[in-house]
Amino acid sequence: MSARDDVLARVRAALGGATATGGPAASGTVARAYREHGDLAPGSPEAVDVLVDRLVDYRAHVHVAASAAEVATIVGDLLADATSVVVPPQLDAAWLGALGAGTAVVPDARDDPRTPDELDRVDAVVTAARVAIADTGTIVLDGEPDQGRRAITLVPDLHVCVVRTDQVVEAVPEAVRLLAAHPERPQTWISGPSATSDIELSRVEGVHGPRTLHVILAPPR
């Protein structure tokens, strides 16, 4: 008997053969009395306020831009000291409009990836996001062309993430249901910069991931 058949037989034996034989009965049998939506409308100023509060609490730096031009100005300021920045293939080009002459733009794409060592020599990364969760101060990336491969937001030490305010939802279930449209996309949920609680259970920011996270809140397209 293969290990697979053996393990499955043991599971069935453990359940005493009483297990449902029909297909997945969906989880409709599970009572869900929890909040599936928050009280705040997606993209509302109130939801954005909660997001900002939570981001700041977890030591992310938050900037508010009134226009795409202002996003560019903020990006330019944040990257003033960076000698290089890696960008995903379909990043809004306008966001890089005010980049200093001393900052080289390094392209990266699934069909033209930089190696981990190359990324290690890059100072920063600029990306968009898929959705942001106000309740938890979480930004979710799903690897689409305006966000890029997972490695580019991981290896460089400074991550500048542009979130449109219409991408902000209040509660975790709202984000999960939105992401469920494409569960196959590789996702990274980011809540503040890299941190650890491993020393005496006190939180310390900055371990292996980017030690600095800037979030720029941009107006809806």
Binding site: A3, V7, L8, R10, V11, L15, T19, A20, P24, A25, S27, T29, V30, A31, R32, A33, Y34, R54, Y58, A109, R110, P113, P116, D120, I133, T136, G137, R149, R150, A151, L154, V155, V172, A175, V176, R177, A180, P183, E184, R185, P186, Q187, T188, W189, S191, P193, S194, A195, S197, D198, I199, E200, L201, R203, V204, G206, V207, H208, G209, P210
Partner: protein
Amino acid sequence: MSRTFLGLPLRRGARTLPDDVARPGGHGTSAGAGPASDAFGDVPHPDAPLRWGGSFPDAAREALQNTQLRRNLAHATSTIRAKRAAVVGEVPDWEALRDAGSAIKTDVMARLPELLEELERNVVARGGVVHWARDADEANRIVADLVKAKGVDEVVKVKSMATQEIGLNEALAAEGIAAYETDLAELIVQLADDMPSHILVPAIHRNRAEIREIFLARMGDAPPDLSDVPRELAMAARAHLRRKFLSAKVAISGANFGVADTGTLTVVESEGNGRMCLTLPETLVTVMGIEKVVPTYTDLEVFLQLLPRSSTGERMNPYTSLWTGVTPGDGPQEFHLVLLDNGRTDVLADEVGRAALHCIRCSACLNVCPVYERVGGHAYGSVYPGPIGAILTPQLTKSSGGLSGHHDPNASLPYASTLCGACYEVCPVKIDIPSILVELRAREVDADRGRPTGWGAAMKAASFVMSDARRFELAEKAAGLGRVVAGPKGRISTLPPPASAWTRSRDLPAPAKQTFRDWWRDRPAPAPPVADPGDTGGFGAAATDNPGFGDGGEGR
């Protein structure tokens, strides 16, 4: 058997770091291990990750001698308890989330065969390879063969309880493969050649000063002026592991959740070491216990709220990674999922005990447990310590006597609790740990029936004495002799066996000067009943209609 300061049994040939301090995992010889070889206590590695050797009472007694350990644990657990309480208090629908989490897990157990097959189908459909392992040896063999097939002799690892449970690092070392732990706490444990003492923070028993010492002595590239400021210690770990991450070809992880209806795997972490392992290497091998499957993608909305707030006391952990098979051009291009039984089906077979499989490994029950806070994780003699360990470890090792063997150290684990119920209160999936502990205690006692034991003999004697009024009266009088043993302090602190089992950890009060029967016989005549309804002194009147305790004997 020699023991260490933590009360652990020494295994044959303690593992020490080989000469190349940057290369962990060998059962290597300690020749040339250098001046630091004994710096952190001779902490041993047991032969079996789920059965370290000593019984809980013995290990606990030794652990209680360690005041540094108690101070470290009291500090860490009180910090995390306050953080958890604050972020759980923010959530208006916390109880509804717990109910949903519990219901989903119950549903998973009932439909486990179908869900596992569905998960397998979807992982394979997205380019992954699924392996099944009956036990630890089979899982270790699968992983070692996968690593060797890639032609490498080192791997990076994300902290994972499943791989701790099967002793994967030791098994790989025996095959000449070095496994580098990359979680900060796991790195501390590995560098100190120590054993984990907490599900979430394996080095919770170490304070910052000890961690600094470990890094300076064992890391090899720690800055000589390293201080004990946590941020500096974290930076030292970052620098130490950076090259490993960038050059690793194979990574090994566990999984927090495996979604049946999409084939999506999830790892929840803080530092980014998980992302490094899950993203940069060419090959990823994930070892997941079969109970970690969840039915649907949307079920994640429940667990991704429950888990971070319960474990690190954060609204959300810094990083959560979700991946489904292989994504061309992004991340590992070869993905293997190893589905592990290793005793889980034995747990599943127990209708009461199977709730232990609902555990999402948050460790909230450890942090609130008064027993864990005082004895620490090593005393439980298993990689699963604390209240959840006390119900999980005996059941996982059931087939080898972990639950019933009177000689088995794991059979003592259900007694490692005061049954105060704090663990049940905080459990995000509402595992009724106290009830399961009581159930397992009953199983252990039942398993010993028909076999002469001190406990059984004492109960038989008590039954003989208490079933006859005259015998009971004689026994009461005899107990009066205890006043002589107790002496002027009025406490009995030591008795010969078998009564020593009690007095070893508790004083026995001296018996009263007068027995209840003597008092009853000699009491003044009862006062006549009083009409005042506020008077509760009806005891005397009622008592006269009642033969009272002792007089009734067998007739009652």
